[in-house]
C-alpha cells in the first residue's frame, strides 16, 4: 500500500492524502477524469466528496495492484457514496 508514498510523506494511508498529494500521486487518464467529472456533476458531489471518491478509487486500484486509477475503480468508489438522506 505504501510503496508510492516513499516521496518523503509522513502519511501512511490513502485517506490521509490531502488535495495536493492527490494531484501529484493520483494520475488519471483523460477519459477517466471526464467520467469522474461527469458523475460528480450528475450526483452533485461536493468538492470534498469528489476528493474522497478519488482516494477510495486509489485504494481500490492499489488492492488490485494497478498503477493507474481506472474507470472501474472510480465507479466502484462512487457506488459506495451514501444514498440520499443517509
Amino acid at each position: 500500500m505504501e510503496r508510492f508514498k516513499k516521496a518523503g510523506k509522513k502519511i501512511t494511508t490513502n485517506s490521509e492524502m490531502n488535495v495536493k498529494d492527490l494531484g501529484s500521486m493520483v494520475k488519471l487518464e483523460k477519459e477517466v477524469r471526464e467520467l469522474l467529472d461527469d458523475s460528480a456533476e450528475r450526483l452533485a458531489l461536493s468538492a470534498r466528496a469528489y476528493h474522497r471518491v478519488l482516494k477510495i478509487a486509489r485504494t481500490i486500484a492499489d488492492l488490485e495492484n494497478s498503477e493507474n486509477v481506472e474507470a472501474n475503480h472510480i465507479l466502484e468508489a462512487i457506488q459506495y457514496r451514501p444514498k440520499v438522506n443517509g
Binding site: 500500500m1 461527469d38 486509489r58 474507470a71 462512487i78 459506495y80 444514498k83
Partner: protein, 454 residues
Amino acid sequence: MSFAKVYSAQVNLLSGAIVLVEVDLSRGLHSFSIVGLPDKAVDESKDRVSGAIKNSGYKSPKAQNQKIIVSLSPADLKKEGPFFDLAIALSYLKAAGEIKFDAEKKIFLGELGLDGTLRRIRGALPLAQEARRRGFEEIYLPKENAAEAALVEGIKVFGAGSLAEVVEHLGEKKIKGPSLEDSKKMVLAKKIFPQPPTKINYPKEMKGSDFSDIRGQEGAKRGLEIAAAGGHNIAMYGPPGTGKTMLARAFSQILPELGVDEVLEITGIHSVAGVTQGALVASPPFRAPHHTASYVSIIGGGTFPKPGEVTLAHRGVLFLDEFPEFEKRVIESLRQPLEDNIVSISRARGSAIFPSNFILVAAMNPCPCGNLGNKQKACICKPSDLDRYKRKLSGPIVDRIDLWVSVGMSLIRNSARRGPASGASALKSGSPARGGFRWSVSRKPAKKLQPTAR
C-alpha cells in the same frame, strides 16, 4: 539547616514534563508543606512519604523538630498525581543527611506505599521519552513500569520494588553502627539492574473471529477490505442480526501492522490514560464505546483536558455500534477528528490538541425497528420516527463517511453451504457484488462509460 534537590517528572497532557523537587529543612516546630500548585494526590504524598521513610528504617520526618518545605518547580505548572513520592522521599533523606548520592542526570518516579514499596504509575513511556530528550541519563521507576520505559533507547532504566532498593542502589548509605565492610557489601549487592531494552512483540495469534469465520456478506467484506487498506471511514447498515457487529470486530484483524513509531505513539497515549496495565499496545486499538457514552468521554475534555475515545482509537478503529443512537452532540463532534485527524479541546484551564487518526466503523439499522427495506418483514416505524432517525445523521457527517455498505439478510442456505472457507484470499478473487447495492444512480455513468472502458 540543609537543602537538597532531585529531579522527577509528571504527565502533562500527552507528554512528560520534568519537575525539580527541592527540599529545605530548618529548625522549628514540625511542619511539612508542599508548594508549587500541588493537587490533592501530591499534597497527600506528605503522609505516604513520611510513612515510607519510617518503615524503611530511617528516622521519621515527623519525629524531629523541623520545618520541611518541599518545592516543586516550575511553580506555575499544576502538579497532578502521585509521581513525586519517590523523589520527595529521596530529597528529604538527602537533605536530612541520612543518605548521600549524586542526583544529577537522574529522574525518580513512583508512588510510595506506607511500607516503602513502589507502586505503578501511568505514563512511564512519555516520561522516559521526555527525560531522554532533556538529556537525563538514568531513570528510576517502579518495576512494573520498567519494561514500558525501556522502549526508549538512550537512557538507563532502573526498575525498583521499594524505596530501600533505590537507596541501596544509589549506594553510600550512612549506616550507624555496622562496620565499613558491611556497608561495602551493601553497595556491592545492588539489587536493581538496568532494564534491557524492550523489544516489540507483535501478537501472532489472532483472537476473536476474522473474515474467514463470516460467510456471505461479500459486499460488506469488500467494503471493509477497502476501508482497511486505505484507512477510509465506513458505515454499515442493515437489519438486526445480519452480522454488522461481527464484521466490525473482524475488521480490526485485517488492519496492517503498526510500525515501531506508531507502537511507541499509541502505547504512550494509552499509558497516559492509564489503560495499558503496563503492557505494550502492539496491534491497532479497537475502541467500541457504548452508545450512551457522553460527549466528554468520546472527544476528551475535563478541566484539565484528558484524551477521549477518539484519541485512544488513534491508529486503530473506533467502532460506533447503533450509530444514530448516540447523542446528537457526540455525532456532530466527530466532524473535526474525521476531517483533520486531530481533536482540539479548549477549556478555561488550558487547551490541548490530541491526535485522533482513526478509522470510523459505524453500524446502524435502516430504521428504528430495523426492518425497513426488508422483503420478508414489515417495517412498523411511524413516519415521524423514521424522520427523526434520519435527521440524527446530519449531511456533513454522512458526507465524511466514505464507504456505505449494505449488510442484507443473507440466505442461510446459500451462505452456509457455499460461503468461502478462507476469508481474505477468497475476498480478493471475488468481484464486489455490484448488483447487491441499491444506488441505481451510480449505474448511469457505468453504462455511458462502457465503450471507452473496454
